[in-house]
Symmetry: C2
Subunit: 351 residues, 2 copies
């Protein structure tokens, strides 16, 4: 027996397979990656040898030799935020059974952290990069532009894509709910926002635009914090908002967690929903339609964004860049009981 090489961990290599199958190593390599370019007989022999030896290609060696890892780097600001959890789920599902792997990075809503992770990811020579939002730092943007691989910005759309983009306008989303509440008859519509990342800011801008258009805007109606969002924070912020403006008759919450907190707090304070106070959230998590009363929200296609982002990336990797480099997914206003102050709003279903 030929002694094993000095360093190897003992796993069979492509050479072992080649020897066993009686072919050249490169043929094995091809049989694995482009089977159609190898004759059926050899393919068969090689498959047997692979099985017999339990051969698994070494991804590191492959990446080094081909100067490209079968990895898609994905940068999201949070892993616990349900919205991004669903985006990530869509991304994983969009992979199908390709040999591609996802490398996740959590930027914690920090531009600097995003830069750092980009550096790290780039050192792997990924096949593509997916990043969240459109507010990269100049340095991060430069990194992306010289990445030498397809780049997809997700969740938002804007005027100046690095490469590809898929998302929707958060400003329009914010405007749509606010307008809906105004039309439902609410006048003192408050805005409650946590975290206040760029997308939250734009929802606020939409809120403001709608309120100003109706001549209802008042800065005291706006209650925000940079603290991360949570149900309990919604409760607190609602109390703060009421303390500032006791005549508050509705709140548009930055997201559904806050809205849930507001609902509970309104229950506690015995404020009738929707007659005394209207509530709307953002994202339309499952619980919004189950809540009692059900809560108005804006349905955002986060899972689909993840799926499509991967589809776009895969197409670009394959050299088929999609015709539309910027995709606006839109959103959908889900008007429910929590804002049905008017007779034309939906009524609570009979029990």
């Amino acid at each position: 027996m030929k002694p094993r090489s000095r360093r190897g961990g003992g796993r069979p290599t492509i050479a072992d397979v080649a020897r066993k199958a009686g072919v050249g190593a490169i043929t094995v390599s091809r049989a694995l990656r482009e089977p159609e370019r190898v004759s059926p007989e050899l393919r068969e022999q090689i498959a047997r040898a692979v099985d017999a030896l339990g051969y698994v290609p070494d991804r590191n060696a492959r990446a080094l030799a081909s100067a490209r890892a079968d990895v898609i780097g994905v940068l999201v600001p949070s892993l616990t935020n349900n919205v991004f959890a669903e985006v990530v789920r869509g991304i994983y599902d969009g992979l199908g059974d390709t040999h591609l792997q996802v490398q996740l990075g959590n930027t914690h809503y920090s531009g600097l952290e995003e830069e750092r992770l980009l550096q790290v990811f780039l050192s792997q020579k990924p096949s593509a990069l997916i990043v969240s939002g459109i507010d990269q730092t100049p340095a991060a943007r430069a990194l992306l532009e010289s990445a030498g691989c397809p780049v997809v910005q997700i969740m938002e759309i804007g005027p100046d894509p690095v490469d590809m983009m898929i998302g929707f306008s958060h400003l329009e989303g914010g405007r749509a709910v606010t307008r809906h509440m105004i039309e439902a008859g609410y006048r003192k519509v408050g805005f409650i926002g946590a975290r206040m990342d760029p997308r939250s800011q734009r929802r606020l801008a939409g809120y403001r635009a709608a309120m100003e258009a109706a001549g209802l805007y008042d800065v005291r109606l706006v209650t925000t914090t940079t603290t991360p969002s949570s149900v309990s924070l919604g409760q607190e912020l609602f109390r703060d908002a009421l303390a500032k403006v006791p005549t508050l008759d509705a709140v548009f919450c930055n997201n559904d967690d806050l809205a849930l907190g507001v609902l509970f707090e309104a229950n506690r304070a015995a404020l009738a929903i929707p007659s005394k106070v209207g509530i709307a959230g953002f994202n339309d998590l499952d619980m919004m339609h189950v809540a009692f009363p059900s809560i108005t929200s804006v349905r955002t296609p986060r899972y689909e964004i993840g799926r499509q982002a991967i589809a776009m990336a895969r197409a670009a990797i394959a050299g088929k860049r999609p015709a539309d480099l910027v995709v606006d997914t839109g959103f959908e206003l889900m008007a429910r009981e929590s804002t049905a102050r008017h007779p034309d709003g939906r009524r609570p279903p009979a029990p």
Copy 2:
């Protein structure tokens, strides 16, 4: 100028740095990985050259040469389940600023998928592996045992660790809540369960043990489904449970999402909580204490499990295997208004 190598993407290599710093390539390599083994002067020169060139080591080459990637493979059954999202957050946080990277895999609660992902991960020669639960298939277990790297099983503890383990007893958790409800005076305590993965099964076993001990067990009180958990599913299952046993006076839900759905449905049906029906969840998400009324749950240290799992893995990688290979984190029963039927239960706070 020496022409750049044929294939490289143009990025500077370690040789470039070595030339610029006037040292050997290996010295640069050492300066980067074990600075203390290089003289301060050279270290300084090398640092300057690295900065000047913008050198970033190629992870793929490093992994190939050292036969080990600085990657920790992490297998979880779900990314959207808040519980695992928090585990993952703990894992990322536990990384600190090591050079280690996390490679996430989603098994979708499937043993086969876990096997497949293990294969993929192993092909990268990870530095360590973290897997969820203790119910690996025999094939997966064999893979883990011959992985040649530290392995941490998380979320549960059991008698036969592959290597290391950190978690708690779901059976005891289920038993504790159930006992609490019985002590609060409930008699027809139902169990509502979604997904029914192994950990859910063990919580059910704990429920059953407590009910049988009190002579209250009745199979008709148990309502389960393999459908993934959600708030709306909680609503549905509660309706089903009530249809089966109209005298139901409490429900222990497999997790907090279901419990929230039950709460809303009880509200809808005008069933007073906790007098007509008691509710308990599992995991103690933030919303449980905010809910109105607040909901009894079992606090599980999922974030801490993630953090500690990484700590254990890092220690093992560094050759310092922890003294306790199996860590029981325990859990904490959070009794709240939703099960406070007895005067000794907590009262709702005054507004």
